[in-house]
């Protein structure tokens, strides 16, 4: 087999190798010795990013089941950005919370490798494999603080429900195989050209089961139950990582399976997915309003954002497909940043999770409060931040395919979401803080990462044309 046949998996290999290196480094680390293990991860991710750039536009395939098309590569780059930011925010927090950094980084990188694989896989079984790789890494990351009961509980809950959803997914693959005789997406698509196949009852069952499996991973209502518990119990940096990374990977595979392979069955999944999108947007924002903990609030907010992504998926037109990619990038930048500030504002003993812990943050640390405001305003979709352009893109897709109901519910729920984002802003700026709360300390690496995120959020909010063109080009290759 020539080496060129491996091209499409190079980004994943980069990340996996450095993940293994991190594990080795941890094994050779003396107790109490400080080692820049995070740096290894940065090298691997940089390699993956460069490889993705080099593969751009070449549409290479490995083993027939991993396809490095522009769509997958765009998501790969989004994942690299999410990974780099997560590592930058983690270093300081890990030391403070005394988390073994080798394990942490290795798991993060393995998770990312699974995510990258999921975004580029074109075989249902491989997608399942990638799903399991990333899920296992994330389950452990959720419970990585061994001294935290909440973390252990969250990890366990997430593991049980996640395992459950994987079973659904696998069952769906089995049915699809039963009808079409293959698990490869291109072969399934080839069978689904006739009406007999698309209306085959078992194929409908397969589609429904796959929908449930994806629904769990993107935390769509009614499969969202694990999300608030998992995000609340997990360390804040991990919550930021999984709320963005898992979502990006899962949406990539979701779009790939439903918008290209199962496109002939649109009539069957469209109504179901529309209903799920509506329920997700409404429940995410309505319940978000009632939260008093910041991590839970951000969890419901991420459910709602999943709903907006579903709107783009349902619309299914060219704009919608590109909007998914753009939205994932923007959401990744913003949400990782917001969770990072939760992590940085906390201490080892206190997670600083209650909204009241943020009272007067502006007076204690104006820069951190300003950055948090930028992230929250972007999540709320205010111009001139990237969040506005992303939402506008999604709603343009919905209007373009005549889904006015989805667009209107989308904009109205985003007003509701503004209410709870602003509650944090009110706390930070307009309430007096308790005297005993200390001023958070932000290390140079985290500060740099925060600054870069904020600048990118404004850049994508004011001059989005280039990245939008890139996203539009990415979808041309596969759909």
């Amino acid at each position: 087999m020539p080496l060129t046949a491996l091209m499409a998996v190079v980004p994943m290999i980069c990340v996996t190798l450095t993940g293994i290196a991190c594990m080795m480094a941890e094994a050779f680390r003396n107790r109490g010795e400080r080692m820049p293990i995070g740096g290894l991860g940065v090298i691997g991710l940089a390699g993956a990013g460069i490889a993705a750039g080099a593969l751009w536009g070449q549409n290479t395939t490995s083993f027939g089941v991993v396809q490095a098309d522009n769509f997958g590569l765009f998501v790969t780059i989004v994942l690299v950005v999410i990974g780099l930011l997560t590592i930058a925010f983690s270093s300081q927090v890990l030391e403070r919370d005394d988390v073994p950094s080798g394990e942490y980084y290795a798991l993060t990188l393995f998770g990312l490798a699974g995510m990258i694989l999921m975004a580029t896989a074109t075989d249902l079984l491989l997608i399942f494999l990638a799903l399991e790789v990333l899920s296992l890494a994330v389950y452990v990351l959720t419970a990585i603080r061994r001294d935290s009961f909440a973390g252990a509980e969250a990890g366990f809950k997430y593991f049980l429900l996640g395992g459950f959803s994987s079973a659904f997914f696998l069952y769906g693959i089995a049915f699809a195989f039963g009808v079409t005789g293959s698990t490869r997406l291109d072969r399934i698509a080839a069978v689904l050209t006739s009406r007999a196949a698309t209306e085959h009852p078992l194929m409908l069952v397969a589609m429904g089961l796959l929908l449930i499996g994806f629904g769990f991973k993107v935390s769509a209502v009614p499969f969202h139950m694990w999300t608030p518990d998992a995000y609340e119990g997990a360390p804040a940096v991990v919550a930021g990582f999984m709320s963005t990374g898992v979502k990006a990977a899962a949406f990539a595979a979701f779009a790939r399976v439903f918008l290209s392979t199962l496109e002939p069955m649109r009539a069957a999944w469209m109504p179901a997915l529309s209903a799920i999108a509506i329920a997700t947007m409404i429940l995410g924002t309505m319940v978000g309003v009632a939260q008093t903990g910041l991590k839970r609030m951000l969890a419901y907010s991420s459910i709602a954002h999943g709903g907006y992504l579903l709107v783009a998926l349902v619309s299914g037109n060219e704009i919608g497909k590109a909007a998914i990619l753009f939205y994932l990038l923007v959401y990744g930048l913003t949400n990782v940043g917001a969770f990072a500030i939760v992590a940085l504002a906390g201490t080892r003993e206190r997670g600083n999770d209650s909204l009241t812990d943020y009272a007067g943050l502006w007076h204690r640390h104006p820069t951190l409060a300003t950055l948090m405001t930028i992230f929250l305003l972007s999540l709320g979709g205010f111009p001139p931040t990237a969040g506005f352009v992303a939402k506008w893109y999604v709603f343009s897709a919905a209007v373009g395919s005549g889904d006015y109901l989805l667009a209107i519910i989308g904009v109205l729920t985003s007003v509701v979401s503004v209410f709870f984002y602003l509650r944090v802003v009110v706390m930070m700026y307009m309430a007096e803080g308790a005297a005993e709360v200390s001023r958070p300390i932000v290390g140079p690496v985290a500060a740099l990462a925060l600054a870069v995120s904020a600048i990118l959020i404004f850049y994508l909010g004011i001059l989005p044309a280039q990245v939008m063109t890139l996203a539009a080009d990415s979808i041309a290759t596969i759909f």
């Binding site: 506008w392 709603f395 343009s396 006015y404 109205l412 209410f419 307009m430 939008m468 539009a472």
Partner: protein, 515 residues
């Protein structure tokens, strides 16, 4: 580049302020100086726009256009015409006054305060010059954030409630407009093959009356909340009363005009058939607002609240003028927007001065101020009379033109609206009498100091403008006229005469569909 530098100049001032180290407010004076300098410079630029403006032309002038998001036909496209020119000048005029009025009232976090005011000014200017609907919406929504912070951080007791109510209320209206804007661009792509957010290309779209009806409603809701038109006005008393003086001045002076401006620039010319059908309904709300605002203002014990409700009444006149859609009425409406900006802005500045001195805004706590503060009373009187619409002062010209135009359109509306003129005299003069005349009832009032030099500079220009605009209205009306004429022609010529009869069944049928 001229208009762009106008939009950018307050932002540049804000950026300079970001670089000023102001720990514990040690360099507040410098911060205030920079902010004032930036806003005065911006005012000078707005005057330069006026000077360069050719009053003979109807179309857009000083146009700048650059591709921005080509895939969606979004351009950075700005320009001014006779309709927006003076709103731009008004924004430039009021911002330095607002800063001066809060010179001492705001004493903590002065730097952030100045940054928010300057950012707000930039976005407001952007709203008035944007000719691309995407750009317009961007400025329209972005503007909420600095205003939210101004109310929420530097406001009075119930500031947080007022700030959140302000932002949610306005957003709820404007997001539906966002869907309507996207729909327009999409409809353009259906008709011409490409997306476009260019206002003038969207003017030319051929839309069915029922489609126009829904899109008009989405736009009109956003603008009606901003104006505010009764019954969408409930955010206004809270926001105006709780905002710091500078916030109230900008809110009343400029922000409310955006709603009326939106109706003139977007809702009416984009959807002429729906506008013709809905204008009488809009006028009913406007007239109700005129009378209701005046009656509620009459019974307010709080000075700021009284001025706030008087705004509801005055803005009712503006909307009535727009609904009438003839040259006189629209010119009157725009003129009245400027008047209201000057006189209500000045009223809020004066109320701010009183409440800075006495830490109360209740009318009952004052009385006999004429003996203690004769200069302030004199200024107060001129502004009060200008707000009432005394001939010779600015308010008269606008109201007169609106009533004239409205009478030509529909005498009944004009008759009821004229009632508001009388009522405004009642509540304003009664308030003025209770505050300034009579005996000095409280010993605290006896020791109040009269206007300082800084306060003269805040309120003096407004007094001068009230007189100039009352005596030389043609100075302002002439540059407006060609643009207003063209607007009226654009709206009325495209209205199909049969539309009134035809639209009704369509609307009822589309309502049935919704059920």
């Amino acid at each position: 580049m001229f208009l762009s530098s106008l939009i950018a100049s307050p932002l540049v001032g804000a950026l300079v302020l970001l670089l000023v180290e102001n720990r514990d407010g040690r360099r507040d004076a410098l911060v205030r100086g920079i902010a004032l300098a930036a806003s005065v410079l911006t005012f000078a630029l707005t005057l330069a726009v006026w000077a360069r403006f050719d009053p003979q032309q109807a179309g857009m002038q000083l146009v700048e256009r650059r591709a921005w998001i080509p895939a969606f036909g979004i351009d950075y496209y700005i320009g001014v015409d006779g309709i927006s020119l003076f709103l731009v000048v008004l924004t430039g005029f009021l911002t330095p006054l607002a800063l001066l009025s809060s010179w001492e009232g705001v004493h903590r976090k002065v730097k952030s305060f100045a940054i928010f005011v300057l950012a707000l000014e930039s976005f407001m200017l952007g709203v008035f010059v944007a000719l691309d609907l995407f750009l317009f919406y961007l400025f329209w929504d972005a503007m909420l954030i600095p205003m939210y912070f101004l109310i929420g951080i530097w406001g009075y007791e119930r500031r947080i409630y007022a700030a959140v109510k302000f932002i949610l209320y306005t957003m709820a209206g404007s997001v539906l407009m966002l869907v309507a804007i996207i729909s327009l661009a999409y409809l353009h792509s259906v008709e011409h093959g490409t997306y476009s957010f260019d206002l003038f290309r969207l003017y030319e779209l051929r839309l069915s009356p029922s489609l126009q009806f829904w899109l008009f409603l989405a736009f009109a809701l956003a603008f009606a909340i901003k104006v505010p038109l009764v019954p969408f006005h409930t955010w206004l008393p809270d926001a105006h009363v709780q905002a710091p003086t500078a916030g109230s001045v900008i809110l009343a002076g400029v922000l409310l005009k955006m709603g009326a401006y939106g109706l003139v620039r977007f809702a009416f010319p984009l959807f002429p058939d729906a506008a013709a059908f809905l204008a009488p309904h809009l006028a009913v709300l406007a007239v109700v607002g005129i009378v209701y605002g005046a009656l509620v203002a009459m019974v307010q014990p709080d000075l700021k609240k009284l001025v706030a409700y008087s705004s509801v009444s005055h803005l009712g006149f503006v909307v009535l003028g727009i609904a009438a859609m003839n040259t006189q009425a629209v010119e009157g409406a725009i003129y009245q927007m400027l008047n209201h900006g000057v006189s209500t802005g000045a009223l809020f500045i004066i109320v701010g001065m009183l409440s800075d001195r006495r830490h109360t805004r209740l009318i009952a706590d004052f009385g006999g101020l004429k003996k203690v503060m004769p200069r302030l009373t004199a200024v107060f009187l001129i502004i009060t009379l200008s707000s009432i619409g005394l001939p010779g002062l600015n308010g008269f010209v606008g109201e007169f033109l609106i009533l004239l135009g409205a009478f030509r359109w529909n005498p009944r509306f004009a008759t009821f609206a004229a009632l508001g003129v009388i009522l405004s005299a009642v509540y304003m003069l009664w308030m003025f009498q209770r505050v300034n005349y009579g005996e000095v009832t409280s010993h605290e009032n006896a020791r109040l100091s009269d206007l300082t030099g800084r306060e003269w500079s805040a309120v003096g220009p407004a007094v001068v403008m009230a007189i100039v605009m009352g005596v030389f209205p043609t100075l302002f009306l002439r540059p407006m006229e060609p643009s207003v004429d063209e607007l009226v022609r654009r709206v009325t010529s495209r209205q199909q005469t049969v539309v009134m009869n035809r639209l009704e069944p369509i609307v009822t049928s589309s309502l049935d569909v919704c059920r």
